[in-house]
Amino acid sequence: MRDVTTLTILGGVNKEGIPECIDRIEVNKGEIIGIVGPTGSGKSTLIDDIEQLARGDTSSGRHILINGEVPDSSIRVDPRLKLVAQLSQKMHFLADMTVEDFLVMHARSRGKGPELVHRVLELANTLTGEPIALHHHLTALSGGQSRSLMTADIAVISDSPVVLIDEIENAGIRKQEALELLACEGKIVVVVTHDPVLALMATRRIVMKNGGMVDVITTSLQEQQVCCKIAEVDNWLLSLRETIRRGDLVEGTV
């Protein structure tokens, strides 16, 4: 895999065609960067710009540089050379194939062997409470199963130096574990999120408004401390949820 040390976003224009307040952001290897903003503020468009390594040819007019340079055209399109893996908001598969056929085919498209299929399945099953089997049909998987499989697929098959994640918190899966799985060492991770734990796990967050990047906030020490507290509350809520799922009483756990 080619080494990616920096990802640079060169600003374009917002929905009104006015140049963005932020005209340049550099993200370094090992960094998690968040994207926040209300619905319709252009978060997904920014993610898409990075996915397709925009060169002024998308609606935003942004440019994406890799290691400070305009990336080669082949890197944009050939999955075998792709530098970017994307976990989109999509919660369901449309392909009428079994889990196994799909994973074998996807591994091949990324120039990898079928032996990875079992690792994907194993990982996916650690993220969801409802077990997935190789003979299951993709279209019949639940939202949580689909999302777990997509996450594991990215971690194993699409293993790329840049990882884009769009709203993992709505997925009905163990989100922190999923993020840790995707954001392993030495990667650049861009995550769209409003979840306080995930947003504050990022070192910085880009603020979107009306299609443009308006601010970049660096997570302060105080915010990091808040993050630790919320993580505790979050885990507590998760354990309560599991208790309720099991059919047990939550009395006495408070």
Partner: protein, 232 residues
């Protein structure tokens, strides 16, 4: 003059992709003209007209729309020349998967909808297998993995094609397509088709309406795959 023949199944986004590609071509200094072929009715010409470029519509009516396209290719090129165009964009009706109205000296573009599933590339036939450029649309509706699997299937049936991932809503891919169009070579005089049209000529082709077997003549194929000639 460059000839671009754009084919693809109905609803795959041919017109939307073309509208964005035209904007890109005009911004790059080209003068494209469009001929839209359809079967019975279309209002796509109005969408093209809004871009201020020469537009003509051809309705195939009783003739097979792909045969109609092929038969009228010469006339379309002549018309485009009178309009001062340097690129003729011919959008076909896109119905039958048996024909592919691509001449050899054109840029053959097949538009295909990713949401129809990764088995679709295996079903589309010469429309896809003999294309120079395959434009994958609606990729924003599926995951990245699904797009990549679809792409792999396209390359299985047409290893030499250039693939463009496009979005008819946002215009993604339009500059890539425009660049491929600009890089294509000029069309020739003695054009030949890349793929033969169907072999059969039967009584149905000449207007027979009755269903029973005894009424049919010509080159006919049965469900079991056997072919015969019935007639004089």
């Amino acid at each position: 003059m460059k000839l671009i023949v754009l084919a693809g199944t109905p609803g795959s986004g041919k017109t939307s992709v073309l509208l964005h590609a035209i904007k890109a071509l005009v911004s790059l200094g080209n003068s494209p003209a469009v001929v839209k072929i359809d079967c019975l009715w279309t209002d796509d010409d109005q969408r093209f007209q809004r871009l201020g470029i020469p537009v003509q519509v051809g309705l195939a009516k009783d003739m097979c729309p792909d045969h109609f396209t092929i038969y009228n290719t010469e006339d379309m090129l002549k018309w485009a020349e009178t309009q001062g165009a340097d690129i003729l964009l011919n959008e076909t009706a896109g119905l039958c998967l048996r024909c592919a109205p691509y001449p050899d000296n054109c840029l053959a573009v097949c538009v295909i909808d990713v949401t129809t599933g990764p088995n679709t590339p295996l079903k589309v036939g010469p429309l896809l297998t003999t294309a120079d450029v395959v434009v994958m649309t609606k990729g924003d509706v599926v995951s990245q993995a699904e797009r990549e699997v679809f792409r792999e299937r396209v390359l299985d049936v047409n290893p030499a094609c250039s693939i463009v991932e496009a979005n008819g809503l946002t215009g993604k891919g339009s500059f890539e397509l425009a660049e491929l169009i600009r890089a294509s070579s000029d069309t020739g005089i003695e054009m030949k088709l890349r793929y033969n049209p169907p072999l059969a000529i039967c009584s149905l082709c000449t207007g027979e309406m009755r269903v029973a077997r005894k009424h049919h003549m010509g080159v006919l194929r049965s469900l079991d795959g056997s072919m015969e000639y019935r007639g004089e």
